[in-house]
Symmetry: C2
Subunit: 503 residues, 2 copies
Amino acid sequence: MGQVMSVDPRSGDAIERVAEETSDVEVDRICAAAAAGAEALAATSPTQRAEMLEAMANDLDGRREQLVALADRESALGHARLDGELSRTTGQLRLFAKVLRDGAMFEVVIDHAAGAAPDLRRMLIPLGPVAVFGASNFPFAFSAAGGDTASALAAGCPVVVKAHGAHPALDAAVMETMRRTADAHGQPDAVSIVFGRDAGRRVVEHPAISAVGFTGSESVGRLLMDLAAARERPIPVYAEMGSLNPLIVLPSAARRPGLARDLAGSVTLGAGQFCTKPGLVFLPSGEEGDDIVDALVGSLSAMDAAFLLTEGIRDSFVSHVSDVANAGADLLVAPHPAAGSAVTPGLAQITAAALRTSPRALVECFGPATLVVRYDGIPELLAALRVVPPSLTVSVFADTTAADADEKSTTASLITAAEAQSGRVILNSVPTGVAVTWAQNHAGPYPASSAGGMFTSVGATAVRRFQRPVAYQGMTDEMLPPALRDANPWHLPRRVDGVEVGV
Amino acid sequence: MGQVMSVDPRSGDAIERVAEETSDVEVDRICAAAAAGAEALAATSPTQRAEMLEAMANDLDGRREQLVALADRESALGHARLDGELSRTTGQLRLFAKVLRDGAMFEVVIDHAAGAAPDLRRMLIPLGPVAVFGASNFPFAFSAAGGDTASALAAGCPVVVKAHGAHPALDAAVMETMRRTADAHGQPDAVSIVFGRDAGRRVVEHPAISAVGFTGSESVGRLLMDLAAARERPIPVYAEMGSLNPLIVLPSAARRPGLARDLAGSVTLGAGQFCTKPGLVFLPSGEEGDDIVDALVGSLSAMDAAFLLTEGIRDSFVSHVSDVANAGADLLVAPHPAAGSAVTPGLAQITAAALRTSPRALVECFGPATLVVRYDGIPELLAALRVVPPSLTVSVFADTTAADADEKSTTASLITAAEAQSGRVILNSVPTGVAVTWAQNHAGPYPASSAGGMFTSVGATAVRRFQRPVAYQGMTDEMLPPALRDANPWHLPRRVDGVEVGV
């Protein structure tokens, strides 16, 4: 089998051999162990499961220095950013512990027998073992211990992580910690890891696997969707595949203080390697828009080169920016490759009219660049927006106090249009930064995400992706699962005979 | 184009020409109209939408005599059953009106700004136009005005129904009524109908369609799943594909009064054409089991022939029963074809040991027959259950008061095993009869249903199949949809800053 190496993107050097690619036999053993462990994990109470997640968070925090150093060595994202990302990741595990203790996630519904209708009690149970494919750009928060893993464990599903090629040593270290914690909580097979592309494919095709979580490119996401759909028993794939995230500046907001600075910051945050990076910035034609463009050119040209996650990502970034330029855009700031995987930012500009006839300009450039689209009046803006594929986010900048009635109504209709084309609509703020809260939604219609954009991969409701309902009919109390017993030993909120009741 | 004819299964005669198969051009026009009407339907308040559903129920009830007569002419299911089924159907529309007025279905979550986290508000919005493929066996409740249509409309999605080949005249009459009602509520394109297999395929592949609801066979369900997965933008398919519905009689329940009568009734209800018909009946070996088999033989042999929905369904029923017999089962009662599409019931028997090595005996015989499986001790029962594919339901008969400790623990572990293999677990009752309530779940792991068995097609929560979340970040109150405004004009229950609050 091939060897899995850890590469330093700053130098391009292979630093250590992490593992051998996982063999077919070993993948089968791991998936079978996950399946065998599923019943024990499913049988845990919400409190037990919450305690395990909290212990995982504490144990990862306990190895913070070592993990952040390893993550920086493999991603070059810098200590400060990675330290913050680990906090976000352990915070995520703790949020799902809260979601478990809250108990609404079990969606308990009890209908007592009435007339011809029998006693029926419904709850959500775990779907079964879940395969998780992490992202290059968030080595903690969307990787081995990230939101997919945390929400699957909260749902009660064992997780098989496929180590990411860009940070295999980190994934191995994270999973070693998680696995030790799981073991200490009596769930030795709740988490496991496989290495190598073939192993990843075999996991997705394995009969014991019930769902897939993925964060990454549209091409790989679609590949996993197609694999899962072609199985003898198809399974759901939750793929978050990134997007163009149109950001629209209306005339009333063009003079907003700090706008160009915020835009430049959002485009280059994490070296532009965010799924929510604004990849299309709609600015009005004329002097006000020109001033923003000038300020963007000034600040992006002045920036130092930043390391991308791998040399391959850097090369495809440079080639995608050049594809956009060749599709009818003017290259205002050309990105320049530097040492290792580093590159300087890029900026291109196109008219709204030209964008409509240049679908090839609608390429996601994963890295520090954006395409400014200049529109001449609202009808032209709306027409251009119609050719943009669905995204995770749409941002609208408008001065809703100063705007005239026409622009107010434009803002309202842009927000309605944005709902249909995204999963998060933002007023007067950049889309980067995805708060991990109860209300968050990180999804969008295809190709932003799979499964009809019906489920978020960030925030409390992400857990619903890994659950399915079961109804119990005519049971005696002792034969019911604890969640559905009359005494409500898990203190869950319930809907009883059609009415929501608290705990 | 081909002609769509209405056939009487009692005689096999074509009675009238219902329509021409819908042309490609017309399908495109219908789907585009549904898409164009989607925004107006989505913008209705829960009350407006509930009123439209209630009016549809009233208008269908108003044409009851005519519709039931038409349904009987096309299905031969009899006036009493169809009259009851229409009541179930209009009751279903009224339940979804209640679900709308309750408001929890919008899943409103509000996080006020806190620290670095912005104000974020989430709700579920309609997915977009839905294609509905009804079933032969429930011409009302799982067809044009059935649960898929009712829940999609409740979610705020326009519906395009593909008329069923076994009852096209009824579907046309039902949709004419629904469309008139929708029109009167300002939603002329909320419901429409297409005829013919090619038209159905084109609807599933049409870019304006966002999801598919289907009730029918595994082969057609899988065909639609594969079509939808291969689209440029894949969409979810909710296919309820029927199943074997294992029913297990433990030794303590073998002398249960009326058991054989209840079993025979459940197997032959609606001429055995229920997705929840018990297709595998596990009985203990020995005298007690023999007595049940003798009683089943007696009552099934004494029954008159009943009409199946079409001659094609009758022919495949007879051939499936013979496949089971050829796969190692003993045919105790052979089904006999009669006039038109009629047939007498069938009964076969196999040992649990033989079933384990005869997967070809695990065929769904859609019609009035079942396969008795005789087991010799609990280990043999459990081993045989392991070869049975997942189902909509699993029923367990046990006398939980009289049973000894061993059998009690067997019952408990059978129930746990049944959870993993079905969507509804039933104690001491037959699986036919699916109450339309808040807690109902009519789904199961593939091949019982698609989408991981994550969504019911019956009961209040069916609406979640046709919704997706959107989060609104940093909005002013007037720019928010009404559901998320501070004043809560729609009186929806909400989770605010992590805590559920009533209305």
